[in-house]
């Protein structure tokens, strides 16, 4: 396994394996099938978190913190060796997942490069220098004599960017200007006779460019191998996992409502107004209006309510009461009760069904007479605007939400709605209707000191 090992002087004789692997070659390790999937999912959480952060326009300092938090939350392991293994394995599994189309490759390359950039920046400068030589970047540090001769100009460049030439930056690398197009284009390096004088802290740019180019080529090769041999070879083992991974929902499944315990039937009307996301509000309003919902709607709303904390008996009472004008009690027990009990795992194979995630809800196609699905995706512009206004959004907020909708960022649209309704920010973004509910209750509770 080509893990780069940095020899740090330590009191013991052990070599401390630190840092950043370059993912040069797939590790000849044995990996358990579960780890294959779970490691990849953990890394995918990190990459999706990064994607979300970028989408929301976070500044570099915020992104750096986000990367640290995401990595800590998903990829840490008490033993450094295990952490590095997971790092490498998860990267290579995701390569398989994301090599398969141009769009997937682009996304993966972009996220991995961002991840690498921030992790590299956080390394110590000796580690960075060691990594540079590992990358075979044959750039010599500028000698003291040469440094003296260009010091003025280097200082001038720094001050033109509003910085100062700190003593620490006395280490400069001389590279052909072609290697650092970003720095040249922004006039952030001194160039002379075709050579750019790159400060240590700018070295990141050099290394990241190399990393990006390497991964880009590797993805193409991986795709070839995948289509020519691996996919077929692994069709009973790895292929199904790989194919499911890129669309998987990665958050909690909300099948066990914990935080707010139970919601009873008398609370529903109230919380529907304050804490339901638009998709569930709509279904809820429709069931009250029409005294009926078709199957898709019953599943989506029903499972959501289960996740919210509605107990089975209360659920049965709720649906029965709502359907009463159209469906007699006997008919209800015959035709609908079974399904509700089924959802709660009390019938048939007793699977405790989990409430649908946003991903799942967005992907359905509601038909005539259906009211499920994601309103940000499935409503006409007119209807969506009206619904947002009814939720209490200002016209400015409505425009912001519609902007996300036009760009097909439905979950971001819902997040903005949440933020507008609650007057507080939702950094993590909405990925699950039950998450919306829980976050909403949290905000309201902290405001009122009680369940709203």
């Amino acid at each position: 396994m080509e893990v780069f090992q940095s020899h740090r002087k330590s009191s013991s004789n052990n070599v401390i394996v630190s840092i950043l692997p370059f993912y040069r070659s797939a590790p000849p390790l044995e990996v358990r099938l579960e780890d294959f999937e779970f490691f990849a999912m953990d890394r995918l959480r990190v990459l999706k978190g990064i994607s979300d952060g970028l989408c929301r326009g976070k500044k570099p300092e915020e992104m750096e913190k986000l990367v640290v938090d995401l990595w800590k939350a998903n990829m840490r392991h008490p033993q450094a060796v295990e952490e590095v293994n997971k790092d490498i394995i998860s990267h290579f599994v995701l390569r398989l997942v994301y090599c398969r189309t141009e769009e997937l490759r682009k996304w993966f390359l972009s996220m991995e490069t961002t991840l690498f950039r921030h992790r590299f920046r956080l390394e110590s400068s000796e580690a960075q220098r060691a990594l540079m030589s590992e990358f075979k970047l044959p750039y010599k540090a500028v000698s003291n004599a040469e440094f003296e001769s260009v010091k003025d100009k280097l200082g001038q460049v720094a001050r033109s960017m509003g910085q100062n030439l700190a003593a620490a930056d006395a280490i400069f690398y001389k590279v052909p200007f072609e290697e650092v197009p970003d720095l040249v284009s922004g006039r952030r390096v001194f160039i002379h006779k075709g050579h750019a004088y790159v400060a240590m802290n700018q070295v990141v740019s050099l290394v990241v460019t190399q990393f990006r180019s390497y991964i880009s080529k590797a993805l193409i090769l991986t795709n070839r191998k995948w289509t020519s041999t691996i996919r077929e070879q692994e069709k009973d083992r790895l292929t199904p996992i790989v194919e499911a991974l890129c669309t998987s929902y990665l958050g909690p499944d909300y099948s066990q409502p914990q935080e707010f315990g139970e919601i009873s039937i008398k609370d529903i009307d109230q919380v529907a107004k304050t804490s339901f996301p638009l998709c569930m509000r709509h279904l809820f309003e429709k069931v009250k209006e029409d005294h009926h919902l078709k199957h898709g709607g019953r599943m989506q709303l029903g499972l959501f309510l289960k996740g919210v904390g509605l107990k089975l008996d209360d659920a049965l009472a709720f649906w029965k009461a709502e359907f009463a004008p159209k469906v007699s009690a006997e008919r209800f027990d015959k035709e609908y009760a079974y399904n509700i009990r089924h959802n709660y795992g009390r019938e048939g194979k007793r699977t405790d069904y989990t409430p649908y995630s946003c991903q799942k809800i967005i992907s359905v196609t509601p038909g005539i007479g259906d009211h499920h699905g994601c309103p940000y995706r499935h409503f006409s512009e007119e209807n969506l605007r009206a619904a947002l206004v009814r939720m209490g959004l200002s016209s400015r907020a409505v425009e912001d939400v519609m902007d996300k909708v036009h760009n097909r960022h439905y979950q971001l649209a819902c997040t903005l709605t949440f933020e507008a309704v609650h007057g507080s920010s939702c950094d993590a973004g909405i990925n699950h209707p039950n998450q919306y509910f829980i976050d909403s209750q949290r905000v309201l509770q902290s405001k009122n000191g009680s369940v709203a």
Binding site: V157, S160, G162, P181, V184, G186, R187, F190, H192, G194
Partner: protein, 452 residues
């Protein structure tokens, strides 16, 4: 005959007197062009240039190189033919003489002969794609219409042409000192601008990304009708290239030439444009007040523009000015009037076609002659030889025995000499060295591989 008369399409010869027997009406047409291509256009020099030393004399030569270059012709009735390629100087010359193009463009060198392009894929391994192309720049004086009052659009005179001269100085110096390029050809575009061809091997092999980086490095003037302030120079000091350009070229030219010649501060309409660029309204009002009071030119013999400019500078640069945006205001004004305005798109892509030197401009009849950057102050666009003038000169000379070097007895001779001595010969010498070195290196490599 003036240009306007020629544009009326008169065909007859005007015989004014004995000396006019050789007179050629000032026109542009296929017959004149035919003679031009037959006797004056320097086919052999163009071929030598485009071959970059690959003339077959050295074993390291790439014999396919010239044949992989794209040329495009615009024929008489605006018929445009692309992907023309030639395998020898004779083929090139014969095709030009036969087709008599009104314009010849030079494109990139492709991976294979453009004539065979359809046999190759669009992507993947075996592609038809540009592999080499000079780094080129295009500067057009009509982009400066907002700062010159003597001419507009396609017109050029000796008052405003110096804007091109200083653009050449700024860019040429930077290409050599900052980027380390040596083989740079500047060409008059025939009417209202200049083209720049950077021909070093390193330049020809630049990727699109690297070209964009260089173009961005030069990009300072960000103007359009909507912005008042088209130049923004933040930072405590100017970046070295900008500082050098300012002190060595732009400041002097602005203060001594442009300001007085274009009367930039003499009238309200014109000085308002400058006052608009001052971010501090109170400073602008102060100056406005002073100048309005002083409308009648004082008895002072100093040019009013210069007097007012000194007033402006002394207020803006006085130690009392604390406001951030004022720090660089004087430089910003100078830059906005004088800094080169490049056409970015021309430089960024390898496949951009650019007009060949020594073409004749159809609207002016002038030849696209080289400009020696070391002598660019002397260049006068109004005295560039025209097609009819050259033919007249040929007539005057009478019949000659040798058909070679006919250009020598015309005004074109000087241009061809400049082309050869200041550009082509040094370039070819350097190319030969490069071919030899690369060949020897390859020999050494294969020797090393075999010697075990």
């Amino acid at each position: 005959m003036t240009k306007e008369q020629a544009d009326n399409g008169r065909d007859d010869m005007v015989i004014d007197g004995p000396g006019q027997a050789n007179a050629v009406p000032d026109e542009f047409n296929a017959n004149y062009l035919r003679i031009y291509y037959g006797k004056l256009f320097p086919h052999a020099d163009m071929f030598k240039w485009m071959s970059y030393g690959n003339d077959g004399k050295h074993p390291g030569c790439d014999k396919s190189y010239f044949g992989r270059r794209e040329f495009s012709f615009t024929l008489e009735n605006d018929i445009y033919i692309r992907f023309q390629s030639f395998n020898s100087v004779t083929e090139l010359e014969n095709s030009i003489k036969e087709k008599c193009p009104f314009k010849i463009d030079i494109g990139p060198v492709y991976s294979v002969d453009p004539a065979k392009r359809h046999a190759y894929a669009q992507s993947g391994d075996n592609v038809f794609t540009p592999v080499e192309r000079e780094l080129v720049f295009d500067i057009d004086i009509s982009d400066y219409d907002d700062v010159r009052y003597c001419c507009t659009g396609a017109d050029v005179c000796l008052e405003c042409w110096p804007l091109m001269t200083i653009a050449i100085k700024v860019i040429d110096t930077s290409l050599r000192d900052d980027f380390g390029f040596n083989h740079i050809l500047w060409v008059y575009s025939g009417r209202r601008g200049v083209h720049c061809w950077v021909c070093d091997g390193k330049a020809r092999r630049l990727t699109n990304e690297q070209r964009a980086a260089i173009a961005d490095y030069f990009y300072v003037y960000k103007g359009n009708e909507n912005s008042h302030k088209k130049i923004s120079l933040p930072g405590l000091v100017l970046y070295p290239f900008l500082a050098r350009s300012y002190t060595e070229v732009l400041k002097g030219f602005f203060e001594a030439k442009l300001l007085p010649n274009q009367n930039l501060l003499a009238s309200e309409e014109r000085y308002e444009k400058i006052l608009e660029m001052i971010p501090d309204a109170s400073v602008a009002s102060e100056l406005r007040r002073r100048w309005q009071e002083n409308k009648r030119a004082s008895m002072s013999k100093d040019d009013i523009n210069i007097v007012r400019w000194e007033q402006l500078k002394s207020i803006l640069q006085s130690g009392k000015q604390k406001m951030q945006g004022l720090r660089r205001c004087v430089e910003e004004i100078v830059f906005s009037y004088t800094y080169p305005r490049l056409d970015m798109e021309v430089s960024k892509h390898m496949n951009h076609l650019l007009k060949a030197p020594f073409c004749v401009h159809p609207k002016t009849g002038r030849v696209c002659v080289p400009i020696d950057p070391n002598n660019c102050d002397e260049f006068d666009p109004t005295t560039v030889p025209t097609l009819s003038q050259l033919l007249e000169e040929l007539n005057r000379g009478g019949p000659r025995q040798d058909a070679e070097n006919e250009w020598d007895r015309t005004s074109l001779g000087e241009s061809v000499t400049i082309f050869r001595t200041s550009f082509l010969q040094p370039l070819l010498k350097s190319c030969k060295e490069e071919i030899e070195n690369s060949y020897n290196a390859k020999l050494q490599q294969s020797k090393n591989a075999l010697s075990w």
